[in-house]
């Protein structure tokens, strides 16, 4: 998975959870939950979506990496089978 694919997967998941959010305005290094007003239920739903759409296994220990958009992209890219373009 490439970084762009990872970003798109995250964007698609977030569209379900925060449909009115404008993802182009999200600071990639800022707190994702705060910027998009996600509570713990939203966050869990995000992880569920990413798990089902990307096949990347995300454990609770990985949650800190998902605090920012940049961190989430990095996690998905590094965890996908080759880390290169699918």
């Amino acid at each position: 998975m490439t970084a762009d694919q990872a970003r798109e997967a995250i964007a698609a998941a977030l569209r379900q959870i925060a449909p009115e959010a404008d993802l182009s305005e999200v600071d990639p290094d800022g707190d994702l939950r705060e910027q998009l007003d996600l509570d713990s239920m939203d966050f869990l739903n995000l992880v569920v979506q990413l798990d089902s759409t990307t096949g990347v296994v995300i454990s609770e220990d990985d949650y800190p990496a998902l605090e920012t958009l940049a961190g989430a992209v990095r996690l998905l890219v590094s965890r996908s089978s080759t880390g290169a373009s699918a």
């Binding site: 509570d39 713990s40 992880v47 569920v48 798990d51 609770e60």
Partner: protein, 440 residues
């Protein structure tokens, strides 16, 4: 028009799911009612045949107004499909879900409503012509769809804006919308209205033109004011050591696939529900100058809506649900609440409410009791705090739990017993896993 919550005074029929001539049975969902907070599915309580629909889609009526007439089962009622018989006379555009109800998911419906997209006029690309989320998203894009000329393309506006346009004699098609994607908003309609009305103030009078947000605000405000006026609240606070509970959750979740993971909130809710069994004075209703203990624990969960507003739907029998199922119910309930689609029983049956603002980072929340309930539990953020452990300084995850309770029903000592019970349950999280009722 059913009462769908202590705070409800009027409701609007959003959809009729049956027509004259349809046979219905007790428990069948027959209509969707808009309460300003949510679109609620309501069921019929008798068996019968729909005789006449008295309140059409889009009309707002007070609670208690007769919505439809039922004839006894077996009565032969002509089922007219002509426009003259059904649908509201005031509408130009077909109301959502008028005669032909295409199956659309609650999320799609909600999205369409938010974006001002007329679902009935949108071609669906899903199964059986169902409108999908992508269909709605495409309809909102600035680029005009490759559909017929602008003249025949649907004017994007909310059902409420269309109704106002009809009331004010404004032709929607001639308006330029200022809302998202060119949507014609209520404000656009009102500005265009000819100044013929006797009282046409610059500020619309509250009863005639609340938009959804302010209607919700009014509703919540009135209920909270009533609560503070009528209920003598007392307040208790305690800090709960969540070390055992956190470890328990971590271990449990480690072995589970993502969709099966349990949130701390579910654990807290289960403990509160079980606490209600031990201290029934927290669980029930103030009715006719007396307390009536409920015979079940239907836990109201405060859910904040994106864009503002608060709804408190209930998880039925939360005390006897296995933790897994409580978590699943919680997810489903929060999802449907945010999509604006709840069931009547979820809005009216709560016996106690829990409000959890921990995700916002506040340490504690002191709730306001929702009449006719008699207590509300609050949870703040789970924080690592220094605690004394065996005489030494340790750091543990902790949460501040509060109780606001009705002093007509109980004294502080009873409330304290309740909080202590919940605390004790959270120290033995493994006992919260199973469901079932045990006689105590």
């Amino acid at each position: 028009m059913p009462s769908l919550g202590a705070d409800m005074e009027v409701g609007t029929v959003l959809e009729w799911l049956v027509q004259p001539g349809a046979e219905v049975h007790r428990g069948d969902i027959v209509a969707v009612i808009d309460t300003a907070k949510a679109a609620v599915e309501v069921e019929v309580f008798d068996d019968g045949v729909v005789d006449e629909i008295l309140v059409p889609v889009g009309k707002s009526v007070p609670v208690g107004t007769l919505l439809a007439l039922l004839a006894p089962v077996g009565t032969s009622v002509p089922s007219p499909r002509t426009a003259a018989e059904t649908a509201a006379p005031q509408h130009e555009a077909p109301p959502p879900g008028g005669e032909q109800v295409r199956v659309t998911s609650p999320i799609v419906r909600h999205l369409a409503h938010q974006r001002g997209v007329d679902l009935a006029a949108l071609p669906g690309t899903g199964a059986d012509g169902a409108v999908t989320r992508d269909d709605v998203e495409r309809a909102v894009l600035p680029a005009t769809p490759a559909a017929p000329a602008a003249r025949t393309a649907p004017v994007r506006s909310s059902p409420y804006a269309r109704r106002r346009a009809a009331e004010l004699g404004v032709d929607l098609a001639r308006l330029t919308g200022t809302g998202q994607g060119g949507t014609v908003t209520v404000a656009d309609v009102e500005q265009a209205a000819p100044a013929v009305r006797t009282e046409a103030p610059a500020e619309p009078t509250p009863p005639s033109t609340p938009d959804r947000q302010s209607a919700m605000r009014d509703t919540i405000g009135r209920l909270m004011a009533r609560s503070k006026r009528e209920i003598p609240h007392y307040y208790l606070t305690t800090t709960v050591d969540l070390d055992r509970a956190s470890s328990f959750l971590r271990e449990t979740n480690r072995a589970r696939p993502v969709p099966d993971r349990i949130l701390p909130a579910a654990l807290l809710l289960k403990a509160v529900a079980l606490g209600c069994r031990d201290v029934p004075a927290m669980n029930g209703f103030w009715q006719d100058d007396g307390f009536v203990a409920a015979d079940a624990v239907h836990l109201g969960v405060a859910v904040a809506l994106r864009g503002g507003g608060l709804v408190t739907p209930a998880i039925h029998d939360a005390d006897s649900l296995p933790l897994d199922e409580l978590m699943a119910r919680l997810r489903d309930l929060v999802g449907r609440t945010r999509a604006g689609r709840l069931r009547r029983a979820e809005l009216t049956d709560g016996t106690i409410t829990v409000t959890n603002l921990g995700d916002l980072g506040v340490e504690s929340v002191h709730g306001v009791i929702y009449p006719p309930q008699v207590a509300i539990v609050g949870f703040g953020k789970v924080l690592d705090r220094p605690v004394a452990v065996d005489g030494l300084l340790g750091v543990r995850p902790t949460v501040t739990m509060t109780l606001a309770a009705d002093h007509r029903v109980s004294d502080g000592i009873v409330g304290a017993r309740f909080l202590t019970t919940v605390d004790r349950l959270l120290q033995r999280p493994e006992t919260l896993l199973q469901g079932g009722c045990d006689d105590r």
